[in-house]
Amino acid sequence: MSESMTKAQELVNLQIDGKNVSVPKGTNLIEAAKSIGVEIPFYCYHKHLSIAGNCRMCQVEVEGAPKLTIACNTAASEGMKVKTQETSEQVKEAQRATLEFLLINHPLDCTVCDQAGHCKLQDYYYDYNAKASRFIEEKSKKIKAEKLGEEVIYDGERCIVCTRCVRFCDEYTETGELSVLNRGDRTVIAVNEDRPLNNPFSGCTVDLCPVGALTHSRWRFNSRIWYTGSEDTICTGCSTGCNISVHVRDDKIIQVKGRLNSEVNQEWMCDEGRYGFDRFQPKERSKTPLIQKGNYLEESNLTSVIQSAKSFANTSESSPSDIAVFVSPFLTTEEIWLTSEFLKNTLKQSAPYQQAAIQLRTRKLTKLESKLISPDYAPNARSGNLFGFTGDLTDWRASLEAQYDRLLAQLRAGVIKRLILIGDQAILDSDLDQELTQSILAVPNSLALTPRGLVGGEIVLGDAPVGAHQLCKLIIPTQTVHEKNGVMLNKDFRLQRLKALISPPNGSYPEWLVLQRLARELGSSILPDNVTDERTLFLHMLSKLETSDMKFPSGGFKNDNPFKELSNSGSASLRVIGDNGFVL
């Protein structure tokens, strides 16, 4: 529940375009109008930045005011009567004129501009005018393709000097690299030569730019935006779970944008998450399951591999403590839940699981980075935390990491006879030293579910391994975090939807499917037959969670049990609503 909802707030009543509206005191007219579905146009206004009031696009008529007033800087007050462009010709004319002013010196390079197709100048031009320009003079010349920093390139002629980017660097990052230079129609945005725009959130300035003045240096000219599909999903870089939208074309990620969610990331995201977005997408992919034969990996098929995995069953010879299950933090919540079911029902472990661990390594962050970035690389470790992977909910990172280290130590000590790796980076590459390599090779039964590529028969074991999965006896190709639909829990137990962006390659299987097959092979079914896809899996999980013994910390977290509301509603369609996070 949002803070604004929980805080008792005074409401004011006003009229916008003749319609009555009640909003909390202090709400500006843009937001007030939005609440009744009236879109007042603007460029410089941003919900999470200070008011600049310089674009003059949001002028509205307020009864009693001597002249038009800007909606962004006007707080709704009791009895106020506002007319927007919908009902006032004067307002419409003023907005049309403002747009005309913005366009007179704006270059006509829409044909090569990255913003074309999602540009507010274009949109409003069609709304307000759509006529040839009355401006027959020569347009002003300004700097083009100026590098502001490593990631951001500036075009002075396209710039409408809304100063959103300047305010972002002043107010959010407080690094102040950008400023406004020159006067009048010579005005441009500039950096100091010795202090380029290289802060950890620099890419947000491009998101904020309402026109095409700022572009990503690595993504510019990638694709026309209308050839891309856009998906609203979350960033899987850390456990903050920034809301983003991703533009994809032909299974390639074209562009990543922050998405408005006031309670998670406002509209920001870090450069590491943005520009490193496709780091979870390996270039090489396995086409078939593999089985270790001697010193080589041989191509096989799922049925054979699963049959070979029979040796993982509990027998009279095995002990409950000779098994180790490493779980990737990049799995969806459904898959982590299913893993816990697998541990409980199939391997007869009991929570908190002593022989399973979610991979988590804490990281050090600067003060600025920690404004948004979480000190981990584990987007969904919180789910594991919830489903019995460790008991400690408060100091959760440290306890998960300790458990992961404890299990690694057991592996090194050679007491592990059955090893299962579920998902990408279930054991971190950076943890894989020579000793661990030998230890894993020495484990008699080992199985890896991994999306990362291996070509059977070519890799000699022990020879500079690319990852722990490669050392396992059985390898099943699975899907990356970008190829799955599902949900994830962020550090604050906020349930958020993860969308598939890319189609998985032929011959890969989702982890949940492999787990189910494996469980059945080992003599216990963990999913009913009607679970056939991600959606039914999610609904099945919800139905199970009602009776589960999930533990949530009492108080201290913004969200109550995030599943409770979902499981009670019984509706089958999922959607994500911008500012309210996840609803069913």
Binding site: A94, N105, E137, R183, D185, R186
Partner: protein, 450 residues
Amino acid sequence: MQTNHHKILTANVHHLDQHLLSKYEERGGYQAIRKVLKQTPEEVIQEVKASGLRGRGGAGFPTGMKWGFVPKNLGKPIYLLNNADESEPGTFKDRLLMERDPHLCIEGMMIAAWALGANWSCLYIRGEYGYPAVRMEQAIEEAYKKGYLGKNIFGTTFSLDIVVHRGAGAYICGEETGLIESLEGNKGQPRLKPPFPAVVGLYGCPTVVNNTETLATLPWIILNGASAYAKIGTEKSAGTKLFSASGHINKPGVYEVDLGYSLLDFINNECGGIRGGKKLKAVIPGGSSVQVLRADELEGVKLDYESIKGAGSMLGSGGFMVMDESTDMVEACLNLQHFYSHESCGQCTPCREGANWVQKIVGRIYDGAGTYSDIPLLKSVTSQIAGHTICPFGDALVTPVLSFIEKFPEEFNTRIAQANGIPTFNTGEELSSQVLDAVSENAKNVAANV
């Protein structure tokens, strides 16, 4: 013949040693502040309100009322800023005061500071005023040495520090919130209002920004009483005002006249009439941002806020520009538009883009490349700049162009006609009324189709 005007501000400017503290005191200086310090701030504010003194920077807002907006007991310091960023084209009156009578400016600031409860004051002087800035700095230094500035002035609890801050050459820093931004070290750009500087000003504290001339009037009001000041001038425009007269006149300069004085008398007496015996064509009475007045509109007009307003212009800053019959009004208009286009701060859209557009259109007409639709276009563009900007610069830039077009349409039309192949003759004769009618008719038709 010179009319006998009161000399409130310029009584001593002809003394070339007036800038020395000793000479200033010899001629009655620093008596008003001594008197004021025995009064309560409320009494001083009351006195200034009663005098009817209005802001001399251009807006003519009653000074005492402006001071009354400052909230008391906010627990924040109150700042007094002396606006000497005298950048309005045609205006150079404050310069005279600062150069010739700097201590008068200081004493005025002291009185205002006492009335407002300010202990820190700044003289924001335009960057181009090098010599006046030095004069003011020297005078302030002298006052500090004498103990007239600093702590416990004249043995009272009143303390005041004055610093001189030189601008960097931006017209917009004369706008009070632009001035405050500049003083804080930011780019000189006006702020959104509300909040107004009287409540949230310099460094977020209550701030009063007064024009140099306004402040320099205070010592006289204190010494001679509000009623004496109110008696001068007219009922609503009390006192005297400095006019900086320039243009095609025999005696350009700064003149102090009682408000309510006849405008034509001012030209003929103080200004010494039109240069070279030519005919008067037009007057811009209050700095470039006010409407131009044609010679035939000046009959009976008086130099006070109301009378000039009645004639369709404004008293403004008193930048009195006179143009004779040889003036090319299109060129004069272009000159002004060049200034506004150059000085637009670039913050908000209509002014940033519009100022330059207007200049380009006027420039095109001047260059003989105008079209019949340009006049309606200018009117349409300017109507969307005025009132739509953050600060009054938008209104300031459209006022001259609109008034030039309105008052001298034939000159614009002639240029456009020439550009469109309608012959004119080099004999100085104007186009016949028939041709002009045809041209304006054509312009109307074209405009209707735009």
